[in-house]
C-alpha cells in the first residue's frame, strides 16, 4: 500500500508545479511541464505478458491446418469449433516447441504438467472455456539478459505456459453485430509472463525485441505482430522512486507493434504520474491503447470480477516430461542470439556493434555464415552486408529472403572487388544490377565491360592522352606541385570510365612524368 504521507507530499509538489487543483480525471497532455518532476519522483514498474502463436502444421488439439489468412471458418472441425461430442488431443510438436522456448529462456521445465480449463464466456471462445494451464505450467523461473541503455539487465521470466488461441472477432463500424471467424481458434499459443522487472518503456522495447529474436532463432513462431502471431499486454504501475512496494497497476492492451507498446507505456507513465501528482489514485483497470489518438482509454465494457473457475481438463491426461527428453531437446536447441554474437566477436574478430547488427536478424546472420563457408574474410563480408546489402534491403523494402541474393553470388562479387578485378565503386553498381537482373557479378562485369584495367599497355594509351591534354598540370607537377598528380590520376579514371586500377595508373603516370 502506498504511504499516505508520501502521496500527499508528491501531490502538493505537483500542485505547486502545475498550479492546478488535484483532480482524478483522464490525463491530457496539459501536464507535460511536470514531466521532469514526475520522472524524479516515480519509478515505473512494468511486467509484460507476451502471447506467441506456435507455427505448427496443425492446431493444438485437432488436425486442422494452422494457417493464417484463409477465408473465414475454413480451417475448422468439430474439435476447434467445440461441437458437442468432440474431444481434444494434444499436438506433440506444440508441446515440444513450447519446451524449446522455455529452455531457451532458462526456465525450469517441470517433470509433471497438466492442462486446465479457464471458464469464461466470449463469442471467440467456441467452448466458452479455454484449455490453458493454471497451477502447474510446464515451465517456470526463467530469465532473459537484455542489453538496456545502462548495461545488461536480467529480467526474470515468471512462467511460460501452453494454451489454445481463441477465434477472431470483427466489429464492423456500422451495425449492431460482431462477426466471428474460428480459423484461429485452437492455434497453439504460448504465454510468456515476465516478472515486473522492467522499469522504462525502452527496457520493455528491448525485452520484446530480444524475446522476438530468440523465438525467431528457435524457428517456432512467425512473431508477426501485424498478423497477431505475437501479442503483448503490459502491466504498469508507478511507485515513489527509491521504494520497493508496488502501486496500483493498469493493464494495457491493444498494442499492435513494439513501438506501440513503448508509446503506450510512455503515455501511461505520464498519465499515472499526473493522477498521483494531483493527489488522485490510479484505478486498477484494463486500458486500451488507441493508436490514432495516441492515448490509453479504459475498456468500455464493464469488466466483471474474474472468476475463471479453473479446474483440471478432464479430457487430457497429464504429461510427464522426462529428464532425458529435456536433455534431448536441449541438445537440439539452435545457438541463441547472445551466444552467436559472442562467437562472431571471438571467432571472427567482429566488433560488438557489427556482431549485434548481423545477429539482430537470424536470416542475416545465417547468410553471413553461409558466405563465410565460401569466402574466408569475415570482416569483408560484414562490410558488404552492413553496407551495400543493407542499403539495398532498405531502399527496396525487402528482407534477406526477398532480396534473392545467394551467398555464392555475393562472395563472387566481393572477390572481384578484393582481387582488383573491379573497383569498390563499380562493385556497388554491380550489386544493384545483380539484384535487378539476377545475373552473376562476373557476367555483369563482362557485359558492361566494367573490368578494372591494370594492364600497362592498355593504360598507357589513356595516360598519353591525359598528358597531352593537360600540359599545365604536367608542368605544375614538374615544378614540384604534388597535387597535380592527383588531378592527373583522376583524369585517367574519368577517361577510363572508372575501370583503370588507380594504383597502377598512378605508378605509370609517375614513371611517364619522370621520363618526360
Amino acid at each position: 500500500m502506498r504511504d499516505d504521507g508520501l502521496t500527499r507530499r508528491t501531490g502538493r509538489l505537483a500542485n505547486r508545479l502545475t498550479g492546478k487543483p488535484a483532480k482524478n480525471c483522464l490525463y491530457t497532455h496539459e501536464v507535460s511541464d511536470t514531466k521532469h518532476a514526475e520522472m524524479m519522483n516515480y519509478e515505473p514498474v512494468i511486467g509484460l505478458e507476451v502471447h506467441v502463436q506456435l507455427k505448427t502444421a496443425t492446431k493444438a488439439f485437432c488436425g486442422c491446418a494452422n494457417i493464417f489468412g484463409s477465408r473465414e471458418n475454413t480451417h475448422v472441425c468439430p474439435v476447434c469449433l467445440g461441437l458437442p461430442g468432440s474431444l481434444p488431443v494434444l499436438n506433440e510438436t506444440a508441446l515440444k516447441s513450447a519446451v524449446k522456448v522455455a529452455l531457451a529462456l532458462g526456465c525450469d521445465v517441470k517433470h509433471f504438467t497438466k492442462f486446465d480449463r479457464k471458464n469464461y464466456y466470449y463469442p471467440d471462445l467456441p467452448k466458452n472455456f479455454q484449455i490453458s494451464q493454471y497451477d502447474m505450467p510446464f515451465s517456470e523461473n526463467g530469465k532473459m539478459d537484455i542489453r538496456a541503455q545502462d548495461g545488461v539487465k536480467r529480467i526474470r521470466v515468471k512462467r511460460v505456459h501452453l494454451e489454445e488461441d481463441a477465434g477472431k472477432l470483427i466489429h464492423p463500424e456500422s451495425g449492431t453485430e460482431s462477426l466471428v471467424d474460428y480459423n484461429r481458434a485452437g492455434t497453439p499459443l504460448l504465454e510468456i509472463v515476465s516478472e515486473p522487472d522492467l522499469h522504462t518503456p525502452e527496457e520493455a522495447y528491448v525485452y520484446l525485441t530480444d524475446l522476438k529474436l530468440i523465438l525467431q532463432y528457435l524457428d517456432v513462431s512467425d512473431c508477426d505482430m501485424e498478423k497477431g502471431s505475437l501479442r503483448c499486454d503490459a502491466n504498469i504501475s508507478l511507485r515513489p522512486a527509491g521504494t520497493s512496494g508496488l502501486g496500483v497497476k493498469a493493464e494495457l492492451k491493444n498494442m499492435n507493434s513494439f513501438r506501440a507498446v513503448r508509446q503506450a507505456l510512455e503515455y501511461e507513465i505520464k498519465r499515472q504520474a499526473a493522477v498521483l501528482e494531483e493527489g488522485g489514485s490510479v484505478v486498477q483497470e484494463t486500458r486500451l491503447w488507441n493508436e490514432k489518438k495516441q492515448l490509453t482509454l479504459p475498456m468500455r465494457s464493464k469488466e466483471e470480477a474474474h472468476d475463471y473457475r479453473y479446474f483440471p481438463e478432464p479430457d487430457l491426461p497429464p504429461f510427464v516430461i522426462s529428464a532425458e527428453e529435456i536433455d534431448t531437446i536441449k541438445k537440439e536447441l539452435p545457438e541463441m542470439p547472445a551466444q552467436r554474437r559472442r562467437r562472431f566477436m571471438e571467432a571472427f574478430g567482429l566488433c560488438e556493434k557489427d556482431a549485434s547488427t548481423v545477429v539482430a536478424s537470424k536470416s542475416f546472420a545465417d547468410f553471413f555464415e553461409a558466405c563465410l563457408e565460401l569466402y574466408g574474410q569475415p570482416k569483408k563480408i560484414v562490410h558488404w552486408l552492413i553496407g551495400p546489402v543493407s542499403f539495398q534491403m532498405n531502399t527496396r523494402g525487402q528482407d534477406m529472403a526477398e532480396l534473392r541474393l545467394t551467398p555464392a553470388a555475393l562472395t563472387e562479387l566481393i572477390d572481384l572487388v578484393e582481387t582488383g578485378k573491379i573497383s569498390q565503386l563499380a562493385g556497388k553498381d554491380v550489386l544493384q544490377e545483380m539484384l535487378e537482373s539476377g545475373k552473376s557479378a562476373g557476367k555483369i562485369v563482362v557485359e558492361e565491360n566494367l573490368a578494372q584495367v591494370s594492364d600497362a599497355g592498355a593504360l598507357l594509351a589513356v595516360i598519353q592522352e591525359v598528358l597531352a591534354a593537360n600540359k599545365k598540370s604536367v608542368d605544375d607537377y614538374k615544378a614540384g606541385k604534388e597535387n597535380a598528380l592527383m588531378f592527373l590520376v583522376g583524369q585517367v579514371m574519368r577517361l577510363s570510365r572508372g575501370k583503370a586500377n588507380p594504383k597502377t595508373a598512378r605508378e605509370l603516370l609517375v614513371e611517364k612524368l619522370r621520363s618526360l
Binding site: 486442422c64 499436438n91 464466456y121 462477426l179 491426461p317
Partner: protein, 95 residues
C-alpha cells in the same frame, strides 16, 4: 451452509443463466439442501490424499502434428442462428 439470493444471482451470472426471481428463490433453497448434504465430505480424512481428477492413470497421450481435412463449413454454418458470408454473427461485442 447458507446461500443468499446474491450468491445465487452471482453464480447464475457466471453460468450465464438468466433466472427469474422465482427461479432464484427456488434454486436458493435447493442449492442449500444439496450443499448441506455434500457437507458430509468434511468428515472424510483427506490428509495427504492426492486429488483424483482422471479415472485412469494415463499419461502423455499425444497426436502427431499431421493435418487432417477440416469440415466443410457449410455443414455447420447452415445450423447457425445468424451468419454473414461465412462468419458467425453475434450481437455486438463491446470492448
Amino acid at each position: 451452509m447458507s446461500i443468499s439470493r446474491d450468491d445465487v444471482t452471482y453464480i447464475a451470472n457466471l453460468a450465464r443463466l438468466g433466472l427469474t426471481e422465482e427461479e432464484i428463490t427456488h434454486f436458493q433453497g435447493q442449492l442449500e439442501g444439496i450443499l448441506a448434504y455434500v457437507d458430509k465430505l468434511k468428515e472424510a480424512d483427506v490428509h495427504d490424499v492426492e486429488p483424483m481428477t482422471h479415472a485412469l492413470d494415463l499419461k502423455n497421450v499425444y497426436r502427431k502434428d499431421v493435418p487432417v481435412p477440416s469440415l466443410d463449413p457449410r455443414s455447420v454454418l447452415k445450423m447457425a442462428p445468424a451468419v454473414q458470408d461465412q462468419f458467425y454473427k453475434v450481437p455486438k461485442v463491446i470492448e
